[in-house]
């Protein structure tokens, strides 16, 4: 499988885990999307460092773009293959799902205000 194909599987698996397996439903919460929005900006910066400097180099046969490292275009965004965005999305979502799921199991989140409105519980 190419990197492109695996990232598609990883994103679908992460969303399925969140929605149906762990039922954390973070992808329906504004809090998670706000968190991801912050993280993705820094991912572009740090991943741009890793890829722009050639600390990590990609096989052109495994990605959508060619092997040429460009700022934007040719399947790249801030030097990194666009696949890295999907990789990061899957990694961050899976992490938060595991964290929240484990917290619910150990009742670590019982510190939540009991009177929290139902509409906010989805957070």
């Amino acid at each position: 499988m190419t990197y492109t194909a695996i990232t598609v599987v990883a994103v679908l698996a992460a969303v399925a885990l969140d929605r149906w397996a762990a039922r954390t439903r973070l992808t329906t919460s504004g809090t998670w999307w706000a968190s991801y929005g912050i993280i993705v900006v820094f991912q572009l910066l740090t991943n741009g460092w890793l890829t722009g400097r050639g600390i990590v180099r990609y096989d052109p046969d495994a990605i959508l773009g060619s092997g040429t490292v460009t700022l934007v275009g040719d399947g790249r965004l801030v030097y990194a293959p666009v696949e890295d965005l999907a990789f990061g999305f899957a990694l961050v979502l899976t992490t938060c799902v595991a964290w929240v799921w484990l917290g619910r199991r150990s009742n670590e989140e019982s510190g939540e205000p009991a009177a929290e409105p139902a509409s906010e519980r989805k957070e």
Binding site: G54, D59, E108, G111
Partner: protein, 117 residues
């Protein structure tokens, strides 16, 4: 080792320097739950490390020896393994900080209230 060998380490350090201050700033109870944190890192890091090993062996990507430290574990630089500890930690800290900010009445609540366990 020359300075360029620390290039990948620098990126990981940047991530930690940027997010660890969230713990005191928002009085996060993340590091105080080491078991939950460790389980999260292991549960999530493991499958992604397997993916990384597969991708590296398949040649999907490779690491510049001149910009990483010399140590390798199963062909991966130590930094790449640390990546799967640092990024989950960064994700949890960011998520928990955003949760505090978005909590109803968070701005008005005295900060010491959150220390009650």
């Amino acid at each position: 080792m020359s300075v360029p060998h620390w290039s990948y380490v620098a990126m990981l350090a940047f991530c930690l320097v940027g997010t660890l201050p969230l713990v005191p700033a928002f009085r996060l109870r993340v590091l105080r739950q080491p078991t939950r944190l460790l389980l999260t890192v292991v549960a999530v890091g493991s499958p992604f490390l397997v993916w990384d090993l597969y991708a590296t062996r398949s040649g999907h990507w490779r690491f510049d020896a001149a910009q990483t430290l010399p140590w390798r574990v199963a062909g991966l630089p130590l930094e790449e393994i640390a990546f799967f500890v640092v990024i989950p930690l960064v994700a949890v800290l960011t998520y928990e900080a955003v949760r505090v900010v978005r909590r109803p009445g968070a701005a008005r609540r005295p900060p010491q209230r959150r220390e009650v366990r």
